[in-house]
Amino acid sequence: MSKSRSVVSFNANTTLTPTKLNKAWDRLAIDLRDVIQQRYTYSNFTLDWTGLPSTGIAEDFIFRIKAPFLYKVVGIELVSYGAANVTGISIASSLTGFVTTSLTTTTGTKVLATGNFQAFNVSGAEATFTLTVTSTGAYTLGKTYLNVLLQCDRAPVELTDANIPFVASGEAVAAAKQNTGFTTYESRVTSSNNANSHNSIIVFIRRNIAAAATIPTSDRDLRIPSDGRRLNTVDTVHTGALTNNIVMTITDETGATVVTATTNGSGAPPNKTQGTSVNDTQTESATYTNPAKDYKLTMTRAGAGAAAISLAYFVLYMKG
Protein backbone atom coordinates (compact mmCIF):
# COMPACT_ATOMS: atom_id res chain seq x y z
CA MET A 1 0.00 0.00 0.00
CA SER A 2 1.37 3.39 -0.92
CA LYS A 3 1.43 6.23 1.52
CA SER A 4 -1.04 9.04 1.44
CA ARG A 5 -0.53 12.00 -0.76
CA SER A 6 1.35 14.98 0.55
CA VAL A 7 -0.20 16.80 3.45
CA VAL A 8 -1.19 20.43 3.39
CA SER A 9 0.35 22.17 6.39
CA PHE A 10 -1.22 25.10 8.10
CA ASN A 11 1.10 27.67 9.59
CA ALA A 12 0.65 29.79 12.67
CA ASN A 13 0.23 33.53 12.36
CA THR A 14 -0.98 33.31 8.78
CA THR A 15 -4.44 33.83 7.40
CA LEU A 16 -6.40 30.64 6.82
CA THR A 17 -7.64 30.80 3.25
CA PRO A 18 -10.53 28.75 1.85
CA THR A 19 -8.28 27.74 -1.04
CA LYS A 20 -5.75 26.11 1.24
CA LEU A 21 -8.36 24.45 3.42
CA ASN A 22 -10.23 23.13 0.40
CA LYS A 23 -6.99 21.79 -1.03
CA ALA A 24 -6.35 19.84 2.15
CA TRP A 25 -9.83 18.33 2.04
CA ASP A 26 -9.53 17.56 -1.64
CA ARG A 27 -6.35 15.54 -1.12
CA LEU A 28 -7.85 13.72 1.82
CA ALA A 29 -10.95 12.88 -0.22
CA ILE A 30 -8.92 11.57 -3.15
CA ASP A 31 -6.99 9.27 -0.83
CA LEU A 32 -10.17 7.82 0.66
CA ARG A 33 -11.86 7.40 -2.70
CA ASP A 34 -8.83 5.48 -3.92
CA VAL A 35 -9.23 3.12 -0.99
CA ILE A 36 -12.96 2.75 -1.56
CA GLN A 37 -12.24 1.72 -5.13
CA GLN A 38 -10.48 -1.31 -3.66
CA ARG A 39 -13.80 -2.43 -2.26
CA TYR A 40 -13.93 -5.85 -3.87
CA THR A 41 -12.38 -8.98 -2.45
CA TYR A 42 -11.77 -12.15 -4.41
CA SER A 43 -11.64 -15.79 -3.51
CA ASN A 44 -11.81 -19.09 -5.28
CA PHE A 45 -12.94 -22.66 -4.78
CA THR A 46 -12.52 -25.85 -6.76
CA LEU A 47 -15.09 -28.49 -7.68
CA ASP A 48 -13.71 -31.84 -8.78
CA TRP A 49 -15.32 -34.55 -10.90
CA THR A 50 -12.24 -36.74 -11.23
CA GLY A 51 -13.17 -40.40 -11.09
CA LEU A 52 -16.83 -39.83 -11.98
CA PRO A 53 -18.13 -42.96 -13.74
CA SER A 54 -20.63 -42.97 -16.59
CA THR A 55 -22.84 -45.10 -14.37
CA GLY A 56 -23.14 -42.27 -11.84
CA ILE A 57 -26.53 -40.99 -10.78
CA ALA A 58 -27.61 -37.49 -11.76
CA GLU A 59 -26.57 -36.00 -8.41
CA ASP A 60 -22.99 -37.15 -8.94
CA PHE A 61 -22.67 -34.52 -11.66
CA ILE A 62 -23.91 -31.67 -9.43
CA PHE A 63 -22.39 -29.61 -6.64
CA ARG A 64 -24.71 -27.57 -4.47
CA ILE A 65 -23.28 -24.46 -2.85
CA LYS A 66 -25.51 -22.63 -0.40
CA ALA A 67 -23.48 -19.73 0.84
CA PRO A 68 -24.77 -17.50 3.62
CA PHE A 69 -23.45 -14.43 1.90
CA LEU A 70 -23.82 -12.48 -1.29
CA TYR A 71 -21.27 -13.10 -4.01
CA LYS A 72 -20.70 -12.91 -7.72
CA VAL A 73 -18.98 -15.48 -9.87
CA VAL A 74 -16.79 -13.46 -12.18
CA GLY A 75 -14.76 -16.19 -13.78
CA ILE A 76 -14.30 -19.92 -14.18
CA GLU A 77 -11.61 -22.27 -15.39
CA LEU A 78 -12.84 -25.65 -16.57
CA VAL A 79 -10.01 -28.16 -16.89
CA SER A 80 -10.22 -31.73 -18.10
CA TYR A 81 -7.79 -34.44 -19.12
CA GLY A 82 -10.72 -36.35 -20.62
CA ALA A 83 -11.07 -40.10 -20.67
CA ALA A 84 -11.58 -42.90 -23.16
CA ASN A 85 -14.96 -42.52 -24.92
CA VAL A 86 -15.42 -38.96 -23.63
CA THR A 87 -15.68 -36.36 -26.38
CA GLY A 88 -16.58 -33.25 -24.44
CA ILE A 89 -17.84 -31.71 -21.23
CA SER A 90 -19.71 -28.57 -20.28
CA ILE A 91 -20.51 -26.77 -17.06
CA ALA A 92 -23.76 -24.99 -16.28
CA SER A 93 -25.04 -23.28 -13.18
CA SER A 94 -28.31 -22.09 -11.71
CA LEU A 95 -26.72 -18.72 -11.01
CA THR A 96 -28.29 -15.85 -12.90
CA GLY A 97 -25.88 -14.72 -15.56
CA PHE A 98 -23.74 -17.85 -15.60
CA VAL A 99 -22.60 -18.67 -19.11
CA THR A 100 -22.52 -22.39 -19.89
CA THR A 101 -18.97 -23.24 -20.87
CA SER A 102 -17.85 -26.25 -22.85
CA LEU A 103 -14.69 -27.89 -24.09
CA THR A 104 -13.73 -30.74 -26.37
CA THR A 105 -11.65 -33.25 -24.49
CA THR A 106 -8.49 -35.02 -25.54
CA THR A 107 -7.66 -38.09 -23.50
CA GLY A 108 -4.60 -37.57 -21.36
CA THR A 109 -4.08 -33.96 -22.37
CA LYS A 110 -5.06 -30.86 -20.49
CA VAL A 111 -7.82 -28.87 -22.17
CA LEU A 112 -8.87 -25.58 -20.62
CA ALA A 113 -11.98 -23.49 -21.13
CA THR A 114 -12.43 -20.19 -19.36
CA GLY A 115 -15.40 -17.97 -18.79
CA ASN A 116 -15.62 -14.37 -17.66
CA PHE A 117 -19.05 -13.07 -16.78
CA GLN A 118 -21.12 -11.66 -13.96
CA ALA A 119 -23.22 -14.38 -12.31
CA PHE A 120 -25.06 -13.38 -9.18
CA ASN A 121 -25.88 -15.29 -6.03
CA VAL A 122 -28.40 -14.30 -3.39
CA SER A 123 -27.32 -14.86 0.19
CA GLY A 124 -28.68 -18.15 1.49
CA ALA A 125 -29.75 -19.36 -1.94
CA GLU A 126 -28.52 -22.65 -3.31
CA ALA A 127 -26.42 -22.52 -6.46
CA THR A 128 -25.92 -25.65 -8.50
CA PHE A 129 -22.91 -26.37 -10.69
CA THR A 130 -23.75 -29.19 -13.08
CA LEU A 131 -21.33 -31.04 -15.33
CA THR A 132 -22.56 -32.59 -18.55
CA VAL A 133 -20.46 -35.24 -20.27
CA THR A 134 -20.82 -36.29 -23.90
CA SER A 135 -19.40 -39.69 -24.70
CA THR A 136 -19.47 -42.57 -27.11
CA GLY A 137 -19.44 -45.24 -24.44
CA ALA A 138 -18.66 -46.03 -20.82
CA TYR A 139 -16.07 -43.88 -19.09
CA THR A 140 -14.42 -42.91 -15.85
CA LEU A 141 -13.45 -39.28 -15.98
CA GLY A 142 -9.80 -38.39 -15.75
CA LYS A 143 -8.70 -35.31 -13.89
CA THR A 144 -11.57 -32.85 -14.32
CA TYR A 145 -12.19 -29.80 -12.20
CA LEU A 146 -13.67 -26.34 -12.13
CA ASN A 147 -12.01 -23.31 -10.54
CA VAL A 148 -14.62 -20.75 -9.55
CA LEU A 149 -13.60 -17.16 -8.91
CA LEU A 150 -15.82 -15.23 -6.53
CA GLN A 151 -16.10 -11.54 -5.99
CA CYS A 152 -17.46 -10.08 -2.77
CA ASP A 153 -18.08 -6.47 -1.90
CA ARG A 154 -17.14 -4.59 1.24
CA ALA A 155 -19.92 -2.19 0.27
CA PRO A 156 -18.38 0.94 1.74
CA VAL A 157 -20.35 4.13 2.05
CA GLU A 158 -19.16 6.57 -0.56
CA LEU A 159 -17.67 9.92 0.38
CA THR A 160 -19.72 12.45 -1.55
CA ASP A 161 -18.79 16.06 -2.22
CA ALA A 162 -21.56 17.05 0.19
CA ASN A 163 -19.69 15.20 2.94
CA ILE A 164 -16.64 17.39 2.45
CA PRO A 165 -16.73 20.74 4.25
CA PHE A 166 -15.46 22.82 1.39
CA VAL A 167 -15.53 26.52 2.09
CA ALA A 168 -17.00 28.76 -0.57
CA SER A 169 -15.51 32.06 -1.54
CA GLY A 170 -16.55 34.69 0.98
CA GLU A 171 -17.80 32.07 3.44
CA ALA A 172 -16.51 32.12 7.00
CA VAL A 173 -14.78 28.94 8.09
CA ALA A 174 -17.18 27.46 10.63
CA ALA A 175 -15.66 25.16 13.24
CA ALA A 176 -18.85 23.08 13.49
CA LYS A 177 -18.87 22.38 9.75
CA GLN A 178 -15.25 21.30 9.84
CA ASN A 179 -15.89 19.05 12.85
CA THR A 180 -18.76 17.35 11.03
CA GLY A 181 -16.48 16.86 8.05
CA PHE A 182 -13.83 15.10 10.10
CA THR A 183 -16.40 12.87 11.82
CA THR A 184 -18.05 11.91 8.55
CA TYR A 185 -14.70 11.20 6.98
CA GLU A 186 -13.81 8.81 9.80
CA SER A 187 -17.08 6.91 9.36
CA ARG A 188 -16.35 6.46 5.65
CA VAL A 189 -12.87 5.15 6.41
CA THR A 190 -14.38 2.65 8.82
CA SER A 191 -17.02 1.53 6.32
CA SER A 192 -14.33 0.88 3.70
CA ASN A 193 -12.76 -1.53 6.12
CA ASN A 194 -15.63 -3.97 6.52
CA ALA A 195 -13.88 -7.03 7.85
CA ASN A 196 -16.89 -9.26 7.34
CA SER A 197 -16.99 -8.91 3.60
CA HIS A 198 -14.13 -11.11 2.55
CA ASN A 199 -15.82 -14.44 2.08
CA SER A 200 -14.43 -17.68 0.77
CA ILE A 201 -15.54 -21.25 0.20
CA ILE A 202 -13.66 -24.51 0.64
CA VAL A 203 -15.03 -27.81 -0.69
CA PHE A 204 -13.71 -31.19 0.46
CA ILE A 205 -14.87 -34.00 -1.82
CA ARG A 206 -14.86 -37.78 -1.74
CA ARG A 207 -16.36 -40.06 -4.37
CA ASN A 208 -17.17 -43.74 -4.72
CA ILE A 209 -17.30 -44.74 -1.04
CA ALA A 210 -18.00 -48.43 -1.19
CA ALA A 211 -20.72 -50.23 0.75
CA ALA A 212 -19.75 -51.22 4.29
CA ALA A 213 -16.50 -49.30 3.89
CA THR A 214 -15.12 -46.68 6.19
CA ILE A 215 -13.20 -43.79 4.76
CA PRO A 216 -9.50 -44.71 4.96
CA THR A 217 -7.48 -42.78 7.50
CA SER A 218 -5.24 -41.55 4.73
CA ASP A 219 -8.14 -40.03 2.79
CA ARG A 220 -10.39 -38.48 5.40
CA ASP A 221 -8.60 -35.36 6.63
CA LEU A 222 -8.13 -31.90 5.24
CA ARG A 223 -5.88 -29.44 6.99
CA ILE A 224 -6.65 -25.79 6.41
CA PRO A 225 -4.36 -23.07 7.69
CA SER A 226 -6.32 -20.63 9.75
CA ASP A 227 -4.33 -17.41 9.33
CA GLY A 228 -7.14 -15.36 10.72
CA ARG A 229 -9.79 -16.95 8.55
CA ARG A 230 -12.90 -17.57 10.57
CA LEU A 231 -15.36 -20.36 10.14
CA ASN A 232 -18.77 -19.01 9.30
CA THR A 233 -21.03 -21.98 8.54
CA VAL A 234 -20.76 -25.45 7.05
CA ASP A 235 -22.72 -27.88 4.91
CA THR A 236 -22.47 -31.63 4.59
CA VAL A 237 -23.87 -33.01 1.38
CA HIS A 238 -23.97 -36.59 0.16
CA THR A 239 -25.96 -38.70 -2.21
CA GLY A 240 -26.86 -41.45 0.23
CA ALA A 241 -29.87 -41.75 2.47
CA LEU A 242 -29.95 -39.47 5.50
CA THR A 243 -29.51 -42.46 7.76
CA ASN A 244 -26.33 -43.32 5.93
CA ASN A 245 -24.58 -40.58 7.78
CA ILE A 246 -21.43 -38.86 6.76
CA VAL A 247 -19.96 -37.16 9.81
CA MET A 248 -17.93 -33.99 9.69
CA THR A 249 -15.62 -33.16 12.55
CA ILE A 250 -13.70 -29.93 12.79
CA THR A 251 -10.89 -29.63 15.25
CA ASP A 252 -7.86 -27.45 15.57
CA GLU A 253 -4.32 -28.64 15.01
CA THR A 254 -4.16 -30.05 18.53
CA GLY A 255 -7.35 -32.05 18.14
CA ALA A 256 -9.48 -29.72 20.23
CA THR A 257 -13.00 -29.28 18.90
CA VAL A 258 -13.67 -26.11 17.00
CA VAL A 259 -17.14 -24.98 17.90
CA THR A 260 -19.10 -24.52 14.73
CA ALA A 261 -22.13 -22.37 14.17
CA THR A 262 -25.29 -23.79 15.70
CA THR A 263 -27.71 -21.92 13.49
CA ASN A 264 -27.45 -24.17 10.49
CA GLY A 265 -31.08 -25.21 10.35
CA SER A 266 -32.08 -28.85 10.28
CA GLY A 267 -29.44 -31.48 10.72
CA ALA A 268 -26.26 -31.25 12.63
CA PRO A 269 -24.48 -30.68 10.37
CA PRO A 270 -27.01 -30.11 7.61
CA ASN A 271 -27.65 -32.97 5.25
CA LYS A 272 -29.46 -33.67 2.07
CA THR A 273 -30.70 -36.68 0.25
CA GLN A 274 -30.07 -37.28 -3.38
CA GLY A 275 -32.22 -35.45 -5.84
CA THR A 276 -33.31 -32.69 -3.51
CA SER A 277 -31.86 -29.38 -2.50
CA VAL A 278 -29.73 -28.77 0.54
CA ASN A 279 -32.37 -28.69 3.24
CA ASP A 280 -30.94 -26.30 5.78
CA THR A 281 -31.55 -22.60 6.08
CA GLN A 282 -28.15 -21.12 5.64
CA THR A 283 -27.57 -17.95 7.56
CA GLU A 284 -24.62 -15.94 8.72
CA SER A 285 -23.13 -17.10 11.96
CA ALA A 286 -23.40 -14.59 14.75
CA THR A 287 -20.00 -15.60 16.03
CA TYR A 288 -17.01 -16.93 14.23
CA THR A 289 -14.31 -19.20 15.44
CA ASN A 290 -10.82 -19.78 14.30
CA PRO A 291 -7.97 -21.77 15.77
CA ALA A 292 -4.54 -20.30 16.21
CA LYS A 293 -2.98 -22.30 13.45
CA ASP A 294 -4.89 -24.92 11.46
CA TYR A 295 -8.37 -26.32 11.03
CA LYS A 296 -8.47 -30.07 10.74
CA LEU A 297 -11.48 -31.32 8.85
CA THR A 298 -12.32 -35.02 9.10
CA MET A 299 -14.88 -37.03 7.14
CA THR A 300 -15.96 -40.31 8.71
CA ARG A 301 -18.80 -42.76 8.68
CA ALA A 302 -19.62 -46.09 10.25
CA GLY A 303 -18.72 -48.76 7.74
CA ALA A 304 -20.67 -51.77 8.89
CA GLY A 305 -24.04 -52.02 7.21
CA ALA A 306 -23.64 -48.74 5.38
CA ALA A 307 -24.68 -48.49 1.76
CA ALA A 308 -22.41 -47.15 -0.96
CA ILE A 309 -22.20 -43.39 -1.33
CA SER A 310 -21.23 -42.14 -4.74
CA LEU A 311 -20.50 -38.55 -3.71
CA ALA A 312 -19.96 -36.83 -0.38
CA TYR A 313 -18.61 -33.37 0.27
CA PHE A 314 -18.20 -30.76 2.94
CA VAL A 315 -18.56 -27.08 2.18
CA LEU A 316 -16.95 -24.58 4.52
CA TYR A 317 -17.95 -20.96 4.34
CA MET A 318 -15.15 -18.79 5.66
CA LYS A 319 -14.51 -15.17 6.43
CA GLY A 320 -11.25 -13.32 6.19
Binding site: Y42, N44, E77, S200, L222, R223, R229, G320
Partner: protein
Protein backbone atom coordinates in the same frame (compact mmCIF):
# COMPACT_ATOMS: atom_id res chain seq x y z
CA UNK B 1 -3.54 11.09 18.08
CA UNK B 2 -7.20 11.99 18.07
CA UNK B 3 -9.43 14.64 16.67
CA UNK B 4 -9.35 18.07 18.24
CA UNK B 5 -12.77 19.64 18.36
CA UNK B 6 -12.54 22.97 16.63
CA UNK B 7 -14.10 25.94 18.37
CA UNK B 8 -14.05 29.67 17.86
CA UNK B 9 -10.89 30.79 16.15
CA UNK B 10 -9.47 27.74 14.40
CA UNK B 11 -5.81 27.23 15.16
CA UNK B 12 -3.33 25.92 12.66
CA UNK B 13 -2.15 23.28 15.10
CA UNK B 14 -5.68 21.95 15.54
CA UNK B 15 -6.18 21.76 11.79
CA UNK B 16 -2.84 20.07 11.27
CA UNK B 17 -3.67 17.61 14.01
CA UNK B 18 -7.03 16.71 12.56
CA UNK B 19 -5.88 16.26 8.99
CA UNK B 20 -2.97 14.19 10.19
CA UNK B 21 -5.30 12.12 12.32
CA UNK B 22 -7.46 11.26 9.31
CA UNK B 23 -4.46 10.38 7.18
CA UNK B 24 -3.20 8.06 9.90
CA UNK B 25 -6.62 6.48 10.17
CA UNK B 26 -6.70 5.94 6.43
CA UNK B 27 -3.20 4.50 6.28
CA UNK B 28 -3.80 2.09 9.12
CA UNK B 29 -7.22 0.86 8.09
CA UNK B 30 -6.68 0.73 4.37
CA UNK B 31 -4.10 -1.97 4.75
CA UNK B 32 -5.38 -3.65 7.85
CA UNK B 33 -7.48 -6.40 6.33
CA UNK B 34 -5.25 -8.97 4.75
CA UNK B 35 -7.24 -11.37 2.63
CA UNK B 36 -6.10 -14.89 1.96
CA UNK B 37 -6.39 -17.34 -0.88
CA UNK B 38 -5.73 -21.03 -0.58
CA UNK B 39 -4.91 -23.32 -3.47
CA UNK B 40 -4.88 -27.06 -2.97
CA UNK B 41 -3.61 -30.13 -4.71
CA UNK B 42 -4.45 -33.66 -3.75
CA UNK B 43 -3.63 -36.99 -5.30
CA UNK B 44 -4.89 -40.29 -3.98
CA UNK B 45 -2.54 -43.19 -4.65
CA UNK B 46 0.22 -40.98 -6.00
CA UNK B 47 2.74 -43.03 -7.92
CA UNK B 48 6.12 -42.17 -9.34
CA UNK B 49 4.51 -42.35 -12.80
CA UNK B 50 1.11 -40.71 -12.32
CA UNK B 51 -1.62 -40.71 -14.94
CA UNK B 52 -1.89 -37.51 -16.93
CA UNK B 53 -2.98 -34.57 -14.87
CA UNK B 54 -3.66 -36.49 -11.67
CA UNK B 55 -0.70 -34.88 -9.92
CA UNK B 56 -1.30 -31.37 -11.27
CA UNK B 57 -3.54 -28.48 -10.23
CA UNK B 58 -3.55 -25.28 -12.27
CA UNK B 59 -5.08 -22.00 -11.21
CA UNK B 60 -4.99 -18.40 -12.28
CA UNK B 61 -4.06 -15.88 -9.61
CA UNK B 62 -7.15 -13.75 -8.96
CA UNK B 63 -5.12 -10.90 -7.51
CA UNK B 64 -1.55 -9.92 -6.83
CA UNK B 65 -0.62 -12.35 -4.11
CA UNK B 66 2.22 -12.87 -1.68
CA UNK B 67 3.13 -16.41 -0.75
CA UNK B 68 2.24 -16.84 2.91
CA UNK B 69 2.13 -20.53 3.89
CA UNK B 70 3.24 -23.67 2.09
CA UNK B 71 2.16 -27.09 3.31
CA UNK B 72 2.57 -30.67 2.19
CA UNK B 73 1.37 -33.91 3.73
CA UNK B 74 1.67 -37.53 2.77
CA UNK B 75 0.11 -40.73 4.03
CA UNK B 76 2.33 -43.71 3.48
CA UNK B 77 1.50 -47.16 4.75
CA UNK B 78 3.74 -48.99 2.35
CA UNK B 79 6.94 -50.41 3.73
CA UNK B 80 9.01 -48.24 1.48
CA UNK B 81 10.71 -44.96 2.29
CA UNK B 82 10.01 -42.25 -0.23
CA UNK B 83 10.00 -38.52 -0.83
CA UNK B 84 6.99 -36.52 -1.96
CA UNK B 85 7.66 -33.14 -3.50
CA UNK B 86 5.38 -30.25 -4.32
CA UNK B 87 6.51 -27.61 -6.75
CA UNK B 88 4.95 -24.27 -7.57
CA UNK B 89 5.64 -22.94 -11.03
CA UNK B 90 4.16 -20.40 -13.39
CA UNK B 91 3.08 -21.81 -16.74
CA UNK B 92 2.29 -20.40 -20.13
CA UNK B 93 -0.75 -21.25 -22.23
CA UNK B 94 0.96 -24.40 -23.49
CA UNK B 95 1.55 -25.60 -19.95
CA UNK B 96 5.28 -24.97 -20.12
CA UNK B 97 6.92 -23.71 -16.95
CA UNK B 98 8.18 -20.16 -16.96
CA UNK B 99 9.97 -18.31 -14.20
CA UNK B 100 9.23 -14.75 -15.17
CA UNK B 101 6.09 -14.40 -13.09
CA UNK B 102 7.56 -16.02 -10.02
CA UNK B 103 10.28 -13.40 -9.98
CA UNK B 104 12.74 -16.19 -10.77
CA UNK B 105 12.10 -17.85 -7.44
CA UNK B 106 11.74 -21.58 -7.08
CA UNK B 107 9.23 -22.91 -4.59
CA UNK B 108 9.66 -26.57 -3.77
CA UNK B 109 8.83 -28.43 -0.60
CA UNK B 110 9.60 -32.05 0.31
CA UNK B 111 8.27 -34.56 2.77
CA UNK B 112 10.23 -37.70 3.44
CA UNK B 113 8.24 -40.70 4.56
CA UNK B 114 10.10 -43.06 6.79
CA UNK B 115 9.55 -46.73 6.43
CA UNK B 116 6.03 -47.70 7.45
CA UNK B 117 5.27 -44.21 8.69
CA UNK B 118 1.69 -43.32 8.01
CA UNK B 119 1.61 -39.57 8.16
CA UNK B 120 4.28 -37.00 7.49
CA UNK B 121 3.79 -33.31 6.99
CA UNK B 122 5.56 -30.03 6.74
CA UNK B 123 4.23 -26.53 7.03
CA UNK B 124 6.34 -23.56 6.12
CA UNK B 125 5.39 -20.09 7.22
CA UNK B 126 6.66 -17.86 4.48
CA UNK B 127 5.10 -14.97 6.33
CA UNK B 128 8.11 -14.95 8.63
CA UNK B 129 10.55 -15.92 5.90
CA UNK B 130 13.43 -13.47 5.94
CA UNK B 131 14.64 -14.16 2.42
CA UNK B 132 13.29 -13.02 -0.89
CA UNK B 133 9.52 -12.84 -0.93
CA UNK B 134 7.60 -14.67 -3.64
CA UNK B 135 4.73 -12.95 -5.37
CA UNK B 136 2.13 -14.34 -7.73
CA UNK B 137 0.87 -11.96 -10.35
CA UNK B 138 -2.79 -11.38 -11.09
CA UNK B 139 -3.96 -13.11 -14.24
CA UNK B 140 -1.01 -15.46 -14.50
CA UNK B 141 -1.59 -19.21 -14.43
CA UNK B 142 0.30 -21.20 -11.83
CA UNK B 143 0.75 -24.92 -11.37
CA UNK B 144 1.13 -27.08 -8.29
CA UNK B 145 2.76 -30.42 -9.06
CA UNK B 146 3.16 -33.44 -6.80
CA UNK B 147 5.81 -36.04 -7.44
CA UNK B 148 6.72 -39.21 -5.61
CA UNK B 149 10.24 -40.61 -5.60
CA UNK B 150 9.27 -44.25 -5.72
CA UNK B 151 6.40 -46.65 -5.56
CA UNK B 152 3.09 -45.25 -4.29
CA UNK B 153 1.84 -43.19 -1.39
CA UNK B 154 -1.75 -43.52 -0.27
CA UNK B 155 -2.34 -39.83 -0.48
CA UNK B 156 -0.43 -36.61 -0.99
CA UNK B 157 -1.99 -33.29 -0.16
CA UNK B 158 -0.37 -29.91 -0.61
CA UNK B 159 -1.49 -26.33 -0.39
CA UNK B 160 -0.31 -22.80 -0.60
CA UNK B 161 -1.89 -19.90 1.21
CA UNK B 162 -1.36 -16.49 -0.29
CA UNK B 163 -2.08 -13.06 1.05
CA UNK B 164 -3.48 -9.97 -0.59
CA UNK B 165 -2.89 -6.54 0.76
CA UNK B 166 -5.10 -3.71 -0.21
CA UNK B 167 -3.43 -1.15 -2.34
CA UNK B 168 -4.02 2.45 -3.10
CA UNK B 169 -4.80 3.24 -6.69
Amino acid sequence: MSLTTLTGVISSSALNNNFSDKLNSLDSQAGSIPTFHQFNIETLDLTNAPAAGTNIADFTAPDDLELWVVGLSMWNTNLVSKVVTMTLTAIDSAGTSVTKYLLDQSVTVNVTGATAAEFNATRQDWSSFSGTKVFLAKGVTYRLTLTCSADTVDRAYGFIVTRVRRRRA
